[in-house]
Symmetry: C3
Subunit: 345 residues, 3 copies
């Protein structure tokens, strides 16, 4: 990380600086930061760490500006810390150009400042926008379209016809546009239904390491702008996901399901096929979804139910042995009563 | 997609054509199809869409042949639509040959019309049959044998000694033949048990994107002909899977388990090690299997039980709070009775 | 496998040999072994197979040394069988050298006997220790450090700054050091929090095929020496895992969680973020962990509870319908009693 003046950081983030200027070499946690590092306080729970921090400066909310030697004053310290980080973040690779060790089809159209590392493969009629970077081992199949400012990390795979918007990040080993899982059982065995559709991502989409998004059977599997997909996630054929949704690691979404905007699917969630999930839906970890979910719901469990119901059910689970014991006691008491007061018939 | 006469499609699929001939440019859903596209009706539930479709022709069962302008009459419209799709499906890559940018060991034996893309690696003594295609970034380790008409998509990995039959598809990033997870805990820590076995696939097997099938500890991990494995599936060492089974995404099968023919394991299923699963077994999504399962069973839940039992248990789950309330009422009523009619002893 | 004298194997493993010498060509199960193969008996349950085995020799505990024609006598037959296997295990690739088809930055520092296969990429300032082997398609980003005797199998990815110790195995397609899943929701959408930390593995660590270990947001995601990670596992940013732990396939560990030494996480386990899991903790298959766990616990279920409680709860699950029936009977009996003995009020 190259150093920057704190005053310059304040100017770039458009935040008031309280305290004298200093050279900042990097960013760190309150606990770990040294005398040339910038830190932040997002959670007031940790405000007692402000007194002890060795940080040169801290991004804080206005009420904490007086608690540190130097403060950058922010209404959203976590977000502004992210922006500060971006000033110091080294890129994954510093090399620029189109390597003679890459394989680029002569009919592909690359904007002038596209970077293509060695051993990347770019097929016929591919179009790649300005400033995009393709790391080693990437495969970009025939007729793919990649926007500007997009990064394909090592060994990312875009099968034929995949479209990726601007400012996207495809993490290592992610596979976009492999065949959906479509088969017909017949008397003679299993016949493959050819998958001839595509995958299309909006802008600022991330796809995590070794995740897979299948091409549609006929039309298009779509992921909306701003949606972020974590590692090892499976998105089936014909799925449509809206904008600004978060799909956490190892989640699977089955074919033809639609998920709205601003949803959060926690880790290891499973969603069955052909469902409609609304906007602003949150699914807890390991949830299993087999029914449509309207907008603005928080659900948990497998099969998923309203989060409140799920939490109450969980609380009762360890009490099953007690339940059986109490029921047996009641039955015995009743039997004893009936022995004393036999029914007349 | 290049166009074809509808009459030619009828002839190739061996289906009667009702209506005059027309040029077909592609295939689509009933809703999406235009005046030069072929569609299909598989589910009679959607038969009311026949009146409104813009499709040039529709593959239908005999009873619906009169409902559309042009019909291809079929006993299995879904399967025949798949066959029609195959006529129009463009391959993932149109290039053919053995690239000088590939690394092919001189002792490897390739049939004359094998295609090897740039940056594919083929090790010593590998044998590859006629018409097989290896995309960029594939790795084929020493002594592997690949049949004819098989495709390895980008970055697929076959470790040493893996055997793949005819007509198989290994999707991008799939790994066949990595070490099984075999370790011995000792006082000194964990010692690796070397894994020296192999992986063998039958014919017409598919392995999904980023799935992993481990080599056996000593002998062979086997997947039978016609079995289709989806994305991000884990198959442990020494596992044997029969023919024409479907293993859906993110399922894991632990070491030494045997699974029969014509099984379906839905998404995110987990099967413990050293089990025997019979033929024609269906496991619902997220099922967890810790015991042997005889043939012809449908199971669900974790741990998996008979599907009927599972569905009944699920239906009762939301009623636990009610159960506790009702039991408390009974206990109070009994206590009140006993206060009125104290037991003589 | 090249043959070895049984007496030489006995000497190398430091085990007493009972019986005359013989040439051993390989290793196999008791059932499968032929007259030039070595086998083992680890589980006394299978001791009746000793009489029938065709093996040339068997590694057995002292009490079984008289039951076979030739015995290697061991206190830990499974571990010593592993050691015998290691004598016969062929490496995944026999080629050695630095391929002119690899891309090695001139500022990278490789010990003299490092092997780099074709199409591997090694970035600026990378340091690789003696005897390490990089298979085709590996990517080693800027400033990575790899110890000695470490293997990177095909298409393994080490993003910038990743550190891997001595004697590690990174299986095909594993990704170390991709961005953690860190985002801030704002009114304008989702903003990425840059991830600028690293991944560091100790010695003798294995990372399975297509697994992912994310770089820390700020500091370091750590995996301790001797820990073995299976295929398709997700390790989130800032996680710390101790030594000699086993993380089985398709498990996910969320960000900032710490796991101790000698733990075992079975397959498809999910662990939430920011938790502390002690030493010697065992989590059963598909467990879901949302709370801290002290050392020396065995837990199961989702949410995970003590294994005994989990097993008792599981045993009661199929009895829910019975529970509802019995409660209804009790309620009816009480109602009948009250009709006969009405409460005086």
């Amino acid at each position: 990380m190259a150093g920057r003046a704190l005053s310059e950081i304040a100017r770039l983030l458009n935040l008031p600086l309280k305290g004298e200027d200093v050279e900042i070499a990097g960013v760190n946690t309150l606990e770990g930061a040294g005398p040339h590092e910038l830190s932040f306080l997002a959670n007031p729970k940790y405000s007692d760490q402000l007194a002890a921090t060795g940080a040169a400066a801290v991004i804080v909310r206005p009420e904490h500006a007086g608690d540190v030697r130097r403060a950058l004053v922010s209404e959203n310290p976590y977000r502004d810390f992210g922006r500060a980080l971006a000033l110091f973040a080294a890129p994954q690779g510093s090399w620029r150009g189109v390597s003679p060790l890459a394989s680029v089809d002569p009919t592909a159209s690359l904007a002038e400042d596209v970077t293509v590392y060695p051993f990347a493969f770019i097929g016929p009629r591919v179009v790649i926008g300005a400033g995009s970077v393709l790391f080693p081992g990437c495969y970009v199949g025939e007729d793919c379209r990649i926007g500007s400012g997009t990064t394909l990390y090592p060994n990312a795979v875009l099968m034929a016809g995949v479209e990726v918007g601007d400012g996207c990040i495809i993490h290592p080993g992610a596979v976009l546009g492999a065949d959906g899982f479509g088969f017909a059982r017949t008397a003679a065995g299993i016949e493959k239904i050819p998958q001839v559709g595509r995958v299309s991502l909006g802008d600022k989409v991330e796809v995590g390491a070794n995740s897979a998004i299948d091409r549609a059977a006929l039309d298009t599997t779509r992921v909306g702008s701003g949606t972020k997909i974590d590692n090892l996630v499976q998105i089936g054929h014909n799925v449509r996901i809206g904008q600004n949704s978060l799909i956490v690691s190892q989640t699977g979404v089955s074919g033809s399901t639609r998920i709205g905007d601003n949803c959060t699917l926690a880790g290891q969630v499973g969603v069955a096929g052909h469902l409609r999930i609304g906007d602003n839906v949150t699914l807890g970890p390991q949830a299993g979804v087999a029914r449509d979910i309207p907008s603005n719901r928080v659900m948990g469990g497998s099969p998923a139910v309203d989060q409140g119901t799920y939490m109450r059910t969980l609380a009762l689970m360890p009490r099953f042995p007690e339940l059986f014991r109490r029921l047996s006691s009641v039955e015995k008491a009743l039997a004893a009563q009936n022995a004393e007061h036999p029914k007349e018939d």
